[in-house]
Symmetry: C2
Subunit: 597 residues, 2 copies
């Protein structure tokens, strides 16, 4: 028994890396693993006709939103209009095979578009490369099971990020809504441009823009009307963006006067389905030079981390929202998302991720499997093949109205109020993220928010809850220390100084013994161990002993392995009374106590 | 009683900033505060003649080491020799008034010199400005009581940092030891230069250097010899650096042949005590331009954070090592150190901090109060006034031997072995810090080490210990969840997914109720609260209830304030059996259970 304890104390349990690797390899070669990596194998055999009908209806409904949104987000990204559509089909196809959540629709989103926009200068090369590289990063993170990283983005930070992104994107369209030309899509610059150029607002565009915006906001609510045509109102509500685009195009075409269009329009769109080709690993630079892959990567910089992270965050959050109690396989979702991005980049796509709007349309249209994506994808391809000439008539004001009407509901007023109600201090990371996102850049906003929030964790780690009280055991005054959290290097000094202060304040020689109860201490590091030893030395200067009582063997072992002689400090299994009695017998402690009593 | 609970739940306890500010102001105006800020008021009234003698002897002994070390560290910093001495006196004087630890000697140190070296280009302006600004930063951190920041530098990181610094500094002197010219003091470059230019080694310098090094290492041990002349051998050992310098100078002077010196020597030293003047807030740049304060600050960059931090770290660590059970007033130590740097910078000093070598000499020479510093300071001033011509004869090989003999004992082999023995994983931050320090830069090494170690804390925060077991209460299967650590946003998802997995694995409808015991949960944030609510919703999809039992009011309040209706989830004071009975009565749960039994 005693030998058993010694063995546990002097032997550190280390993970057996060889065995873990072996197990992993073994796991990979099992047939169930194939099903895990290709979820289609699970549902395809059970597929039937009624599923097909449901998926077709849902997929087409989603397509009617996907097309106008894709065109709009292409313009948010500052890319030629067709690039939005290029981004909107491949993700749907890939997700059929690899996706685990039937409702999710992968494609361009407002936030992705905004984050890509900073890198788009003249050509789409950076956007496409970013799509490819983000895909690779997401895939690697998925294989390494590192999706847990997004757990360090707290709700206040995501709330602030989404809200700031929505405000920035919406503000970026305010000029287009009134037919004003704007050199920038940034938050402050857009409003500045709006107010300084408000006299240049064009009546036609303003009327179309504002009316479209109001109608879109009303149509959003039309499905809740208490009337007989439930199905009709529902589909009008779901396809309201497509309706707005069609009406815009018709108005623009009918009211045109020779070559002069009545509204500012999207202009020429390159016709046809994009070629399948490698993503651009070099791009023309200034003055006829060529920038190589290295230069492009260094220009992309932090985006190579932030875009994959936000992509994962959006996608996993949607998967969780629609999983309804089922467990989301985050790794598989990341692998699917990574593949969507990589394959999509071969068709000149910008970075894509799960879209909340289209996923919820998919869900409410009654999709049964991920096969619904096929209908969406085919619809987008058909639009690219046959409708590009028509799309060149889309008024910019209509697109602006579509974007703004979506962004208004991305501003999470209620969530911010909830956070304020439930925990005031959480407003700090929220405010930091929001301010940096709005006034500097989305990426740095996210980074600052995560950093500020991590400081909360680090601060807490440095201040574990430690309770000390004085107790008479066998008439010896003993300070009992209860550590209610784990100790780590940042709290080592805190424990030591708190204890020394306690003993010193009681007065010279009053406290004869300090007992640190260790039930809660499951693990410590070498810094804590060294501080415990120096604490013992410092206490002995104050004529006070130190006992570590009933510590977990793993934690006690760290100290014992450091200096073998410190083993005597640890007592296991005995009652506190026995420990104090042993102590009194072995030292002259007893005499002192009697004298003072 | 019930109203009392509701009041606690719906009212968040916030710190009363007004009252705190008032208390602080009140504290500042008490007479004891003056004594706290000026520790000299405490000991000066009790000062007597025997103290004076002890302080004088100790101060002079320290001075004999301080002078050669100051000259040597001046050369490590790449500054003209006199700057080492300029840095070595003002700190001693200021610390008399403000210091709390009688043994500490403030002055130039090897690590500070090495960190300053990167910024010294031609003139000493940057070094002096760095001294002033570091002083300001330390002073502010001291007043704000932010010395706790150094708690995030763990023992493995400091060990690696010190060891890497010692290796870098020692390696930088290897060329000087053999009389070889070297363009760089960096670790790799020095050794490369040594091996490529080894044929240019000068016999005189090599002989002097190696013999001095061996003798210094032997003299270090001479005080332990079992002989009759204890006091004599002790003083020879303590003043061995001064002896080496004197012998070097004598040899150099006696063996000189006309103007030709036998060794490579330090060369001309500006004579006299430095003028009292403002630190340089501008400096000549390239091509006759002038760099202003802003440019200088941006050139100093991260050093403005790292030098103060390391300065504090060194000084507080020494104070703790020599306090022997007394509580170190870290804030006051920082205030003292900040003032030392600021005032020293007016005498053209480089950044200074507590020196471990000289502090231990001070201690073992029996110093009684900080007054010992006066003797040291005066000795340095006298050297500057009268001995500069003599010092120009100091052979570089002698200085190299002094530096290398000191650095050998700064390499903490034993500590590294201890860390390896006690906790293997702590070698990771150690290795990261050491590698980055050696092969990139000391500052980034420190930053990377702190970051890697902080990841340990963050990782742990994301994986709290959660134990779940199934128990039959009133014959209802209940999953009891014991959370043994605090929950924060990073662990919110973990708790949720772990619980859902547990319930799902048991099979559909088996677990009727999940009870989260909350004794250990002292506080949660809004992210955790939202996850608890969505956990409840997800569990209800699995036909399972959720009860939070006996939570701390503060933690429960965060959830209740978020959504008022979630109040019903929390049960206080009742036994688990009663809770389950209530549950059964209020729902149809009971029927289901009976059916299944």
């Amino acid at each position: 028994m005693a030998d058993d304890i010694e063995a546990k104390l002097y032997h550190e349990n280390l993970p057996n890396i060889g065995r873990i690797a072996k197990n992993r390899t073994k796991q990979c070669c099992q047939p169930s693993t194939l099903k895990k990596f290709l979820p289609i194998l699970d549902w395809l055999p059970k597929y039937n006709f009624s599923f097909l009908i449901a998926d077709l209806v849902a997929g087409l409904t989603v397509g009617l939103t996907a097309i106008p949104q894709a065109i709009a987000y292409g313009s948010v990204a500052g890319l030629p209009t067709q690039y939005g559509l290029y981004s909107a089909f491949m993700g749907c196809f890939v997700y059929i095979v690899l996706g685990t959540c039937k409702d999710i629709t992968v494609g361009p989103t407002a936030i992705m578009a905004l984050m890509v926009q900073t890198h788009v200068t003249g050509s789409a090369d950076y956007a496409v490369l970013l799509c490819f590289l983000s895909g690779c990063v997401i895939l690697i993170l998925g294989f390494l099971n590192l999706g847990v990283l997004v757990r360090f983005i707290s709700v206040p930070v995501t709330t602030a990020f989404t809200t700031a992104a929505a405000i920035t994107i919406g503000s970026g369209q305010i000029n287009n809504l009134f037919g004003i030309k704007s050199p920038s899509n940034e938050f402050l610059e857009s409003w500045e441009n709006f107010f300084t150029h408000i006299k240049e607002a064009r009546l036609n565009d303003s009327l179309l823009g504002v009316i479209t915006l109001v109608v879109l906001l009303l149509l959003r609510k039309v499905k809740d009307l208490p009337c007989g045509y439930k199905v009709l109102t529902k589909y009008i509500s779901l396809s309201r963006n497509a309706l707005a685009v069609i009406i815009g195009i018709v108005l623009c075409y009918c009211l045109k006067d020779g070559d002069k269009l009545p509204f500012r329009a999207s202009g020429e769109i390159t016709k046809g389905i994009p070629d399948f080709k490698l993503p651009p690993f070099s791009t023309p630079g200034e003055n006829g030079t060529t920038l190589g892959f290295g230069d492009m990567v260094s220009n992309l910089g932090a985006s190579l981390a932030s875009i994959p992270l936000i992509s994962i965050l959006e996608s996993i959050a949607i998967a969780k929202a629609f999983s309804k109690g089922k467990i989301v396989d985050a790794s598989q979702e990341m692998i699917a998302l990574g593949c969507c991005n990589i394959l999509s980049s071969f068709f000149s796509s910008m970075p894509i991720t799960g879209s909340f709007t289209r996923t919820s349309i998919n869900h409410s249209s009654g999709v049964q499997t991920t096969m619904g994506g096929a209908a969406t994808g085919v619809l987008v391809l058909m639009a690219l093949a046959f409708l590009t000439t028509t799309f060149s008539y889309i008024p910019k004001a209509t697109l602006a109205a579509i974007i703004i009407s979506a962004m208004i509901f991305m501003v999470e007023y209620e969530r911010i109020y909830e956070i304020w109600k439930s925990k005031k201090i959480d407003i700090i990371p929220l405010a930091v993220t929001a301010c940096v996102c709005l006034f500097w850049s989305l990426e740095y906003g996210m980074v600052c928010g995560i950093a500020v929030n991590a400081i909360f964790i680090l601060y807490k780690s440095a201040r574990p809850k430690i309770q000390i009280h004085l107790e008479k055991i066998n008439s010896t005054p003993v300070a009992i220390v209860e550590v209610q959290e784990n100790l780590c290097y940042s709290s080592a000094e805190y424990l030591k100084s708190k204890l020394i202060k306690f003993v010193a304040i009681q007065g010279d020689g009053i406290v004869k013994l300090v007992v640190i109860k260790g039930e809660e201490i499951t693990n410590i590091d070498s810094t804590v161990a060294m501080n415990i030893i120096s604490l013992k030395e410092d206490l002995s200067m104050l004529n006070c002993g130190l006992i570590c009582w009933n510590w977990n063997y793993e934690a006690a072992g760290v100290v014992c392995r450091l200096h073998k002689k410190e083993r005597s400090m640890f007592k296991f299994g005995k009652s506190l009374e026995d420990v104090v009695t042993d102590m009194e017998e072995s030292t002259t402690l007893q005499l002192d106590t009697v004298n003072e009593d």
